[in-house]
Symmetry: C2
Subunit: 189 residues, 2 copies
Amino acid sequence: MKSLDRKTEIITIAAKLFKEKGYSAVTMRDIAQAMDIKAASLYNHIKSKQEILVLIIIEIAEEFTKVMNEIMLSDETCIQKIEKVIQLHVDITVRDSDALASLNADWMHLADAELAYFIKMREEYEENFRKIIMKGIADGELKKLNPEVIIFSIHTTLRTLYLWYGKKKSLNASVLKSNMTQVLLHGIV
Amino acid sequence: MKSLDRKTEIITIAAKLFKEKGYSAVTMRDIAQAMDIKAASLYNHIKSKQEILVLIIIEIAEEFTKVMNEIMLSDETCIQKIEKVIQLHVDITVRDSDALASLNADWMHLADAELAYFIKMREEYEENFRKIIMKGIADGELKKLNPEVIIFSIHTTLRTLYLWYGKKKSLNASVLKSNMTQVLLHGIV
DNA sequence: AATTTTAACTAACATCTGTTAGTTTGTAGT
DNA sequence: ACTACAAACTAACAGATGTTAGTTAAAATT
């Protein structure tokens, strides 16, 4: 198996650095130094700096897409679906908050095909989320508030969880999920 | 008056570019090109790229600090205070969403004294916000939910309003404020 | 033992970046 | 007309940046 572990290591370390300073401010020399090697050595494992960003972002984006599609196909109530979306965000935040930071802050530095692919996935994800909320309101499961404001409020809170997680070590994934659900859902319903 | 208008113009255009690509990815040549001049000409008006960032961020941060301090001094109910905080965020978002983007995404590229100053202001702001929420819970004005989750949820929604404002042209400042208040406050109370 | 592969290295490149120095041009006040 | 100044310009720099080429030492495979 050709240097797969080392490649993963690069991606993990790069994600951490990208989270701290952003993609553009992190140099290949920064990444190399954090691994105690020289910048040129990185190219034994990865094709380019761009590729690192792609590998960080696209995998997570695809996971969001996949799980969201499964949620849409299920025949649960709107509220159950929202709970599963919260679960999805909490899970990924707990598992890989560094990658999530890049996805949120550095997606615009993707290029061409990958940028288009990412934007498409994001739009579909948001559209699915909108459908859930709209149906919830139509079915009387949710209050009749401005749907766009509800959508934005919930979505942005979930999206930026990674900024918050880590300071609050006392909360494990399941406690975090139930707290988020209480505030976001049962505050609204 | 020495080129004050031109300086403001640079800051405005730079903020717009920083919002799109982030501080590090925007070059002085990018800013100059957006103004149809050469990069060197920018230095007739500003001292450095750093100074542009400082001018964008610190002014807004000081405004948040100032208004928050006024809110803390007033003898209003917790809910009235939260409404004023929402008003503050909506006002600044509507007036200057580009600068707000830099404040949120590029504050870590401030240096030394300004970085320390910014972090101090942010910590005080968050501490004040926490006090409002805690008192609200203690006085029975707010539900007894996990305060940290409430604080994070409201604060992150207000903080990222700039990402959303602009797509929804139909909402003016006062409609936006009342909608946000409904969802964030009356959903929780 | 001989060979191949992995993963590090040094050296160098072309380009980009922030910034400075010195110059020119137009405009406003005398 | 003369002067002063604002604000643009050209040219250039020193250092940073992503990346490539070629080399080497150790580990894995034959």
